[in-house]
Amino acid sequence: MIPCAPQQLVGVVGLEIHAQINSKTKLFSGSQVRFSDPPNSLVSFFDGSLPGTLPVLNRRCVEAAVMTALALNCTINRKSLFDRKHYFYADLPAGYQITQQRRPIAVDGILTYSLLGGKKRNQVIRKTANITQIQLEQDSGKSLHDDVRSQTLIDLNRAGVGLMELVMEPDMSCGEEAAAAVRELQLILQALGTCQGNMSEGQLRVDANVSVHTPGEPLGTRTEVKNINSTRYLARAIDYEIQRQIKVLQRGGKVQNETRAYDSKSGETIPMRDKEGLQDYRFMPEPNLPPLIVYEENASLPTGIDACQAVVVQQIREGLPELPGVKRDRLVQTYGILPEHSFTLVNEDGLVEYFEAVLKATKKEPRKVIGWVTNELLGHLKQQDMSVSQSPVSPPALAELLELQESGHISSSVAKQVFQEMWRSSGSTASKIIQEQDLGLVSDTAQLHSICQKVVDSHPDEVDAIRNGNKKVLNKLMGLVQKETKGRADPVLVREILQEKTS
């Protein structure tokens, strides 16, 4: 066994994503979709797989799948079919899951996402990942393992909830790309309202198929990595797995085709309980459901059909909300901000709204405001792991601070100080803090003159240097004046006065 040269091996990553459909009721039954309810209280006879029950498709789930497919540039299959996928597990009472294996509702899409790259991580790099298909399927119930009493407790509240499974091509090569792609997908699904996209609550579940190979050669054996509940863990799990596989091959070993779970504590992937070898799912057509037909436009509807019995793609297309990519471009156009700023704005929940609220309350240019929002505000939020909605500084409060700076009441450096103070003592306004701590810009010319004179008098050498042509030394004198005034001197005035005195 010749171990592989480490530089040649690269990672290949394909994602399988299950998105819980944001609907009131389940995919095939009229029981409610809700979380944290008492166990088994949101379960109908069909969900419990009692004999004599039949599946009845929820229209909202079909619409959600079509909307998502359109947003991801998929081809909608006019006719799609339902199948049964059989396997035994206590949280799957029927012994099979209704899914769409043969002909899913949509195929061949593209997810466009961006990374912040480049040396300073401020270049927006666009990437794409191909989507093989989108299919509708049922979720299973929840198992709570009680190892002490050697039993499993089953709650079927989640059994039958609608899922959209998105299968993606192995187009990515590392954890960062996968995390960025999933982040973009989250934003899209949230904008559409078809899925709330919260990974930690299981609304968006991502499994990664990871393998390594030498570029140009056939793909290596892949492993499936599960149990990932945030985009950060997704990146770490994938990168760990790629490294692990490379090391295995370097040692001359072989990568096993297995399922591994990500352990966030150790940052490693560990093999999951063996699934008894390759599963045989015995796919068969779902005999209780005729094919699902969606119509392209109103004109193609058969005569006499009830409107509520027809899903029309054109109508859904026209009703699509603004997608994140379009939003980013619009922000750049409207406000003249840089693409990377727009990227940061859209990426953070509520930040666009915050930014626009600040703009409403200040005359300052958007380009001058954006820095405050993406650096000062966001920086402080990230430091304390807070969301925009938890910010102690509200948009009007920030706007007031910016107005005071713009109108010359305080210098930029003082403004930053004031912001810190506002953050610490939430509720306190900028003007109050400035007054209390006497941080206002000193523009009193008489006072400035005397301070400048003092500095000039005590630094004859520097004054000589300036008079002899070395203008840069003036900055040193300015610095000394600022020190005297604790940074509150109006720099423009100070420079004028000093220049006058040293000429």
Binding site: S23, K24, T25, S29, G30, S31, Q32, P38, P39, N40, S41, L42, V43, S44, F45, F46, D47, G48, L50, V56, L57, N58, R59, R60, C61, V62, L81, F88, Y89, A90, S143, L144, H145, D146, D147, S150, Q151, T152, L153, I154, D155, L156, R273, E276, D280, R282, M284, P285, E286, P287, N288, L289, P290, P291, L292, I293, I305, C308, Q309, V311
Partner: protein, 179 residues
């Protein structure tokens, strides 16, 4: 040669085995034909079916080739037993399986080229779409009553799928049973 072969199975290449075919409805034409299976020795054999059309009377005669007892590998039998949860490893059981497969192979005789398979008798019906309103659920008590074992409104199940014992272990378990 007084017969034409209509190829029904794409793997069918040339007749190799000798078989006597009973006569057609209008006259007795007995034909000798050799049939060959294309599966490797020891693998599970797909029975080749073909329809011979007698060139004299143009009536079809179905032929099923049997080149020997089906040799179903032990691993496949094991897998089938796991999926079906039925032990059928006896001579009788395997014979029954073999007959069943041969019986099902008659499907190959039918010409289905250019025809979409039907997987539901509902294929011409419109799929009913339900509106997204809550109409059921909230019957935990009723459902839990159906289960012998419950704990605080949860159904109780064993810790995981109880794996079937390995082949050797099962043989030992069954040794003294009536099978």
């Amino acid at each position: 040669m007084p017969w034409l072969v209509t190829e029904k199975h794409p793997a069918f290449v040339e007749p190799v085995d000798e078989r006597r075919i009973p006569g057609g409805p209008h006259h007795s034409c007995s034909v000798s034909v050799q049939l060959r299976t294309t599966q490797p020795k020891g693998a599970f054999e797909v029975i080749e079916c073909c329809v011979l059309v007698c060139s004299l009377c143009a009536s079809p005669h179905m032929v099923v080739s049997a080149t020997g007892p089906a040799q179903i590998p032990a691993d496949l039998v094991d897998k089938l037993e796991r999926l079906a949860l039925v032990d059928f490893r006896t001579k009788q059981g395997l014979g029954c399986l073999e007959k069943a497969i041969r019986f099902a192979d008659q499907l190959h005789v039918v010409d289905t080229s250019g025809i979409e398979p039907m997987d539901s008798v509902l294929e011409d019906r419109a799929l009913y779409l339900r509106s997204d309103a809550v109409t059921e659920g909230d019957c935990a008590e009723e459902l839990l009553q159906l289960s012998k074992n419950t704990v605080e409104e949860y159904f109780v199940a064993p810790p995981g799928n109880i794996p079937l014992p390995k082949r050797e272990e099962r043989a030992a378990i069954l040794k003294h049973s009536e099978f």
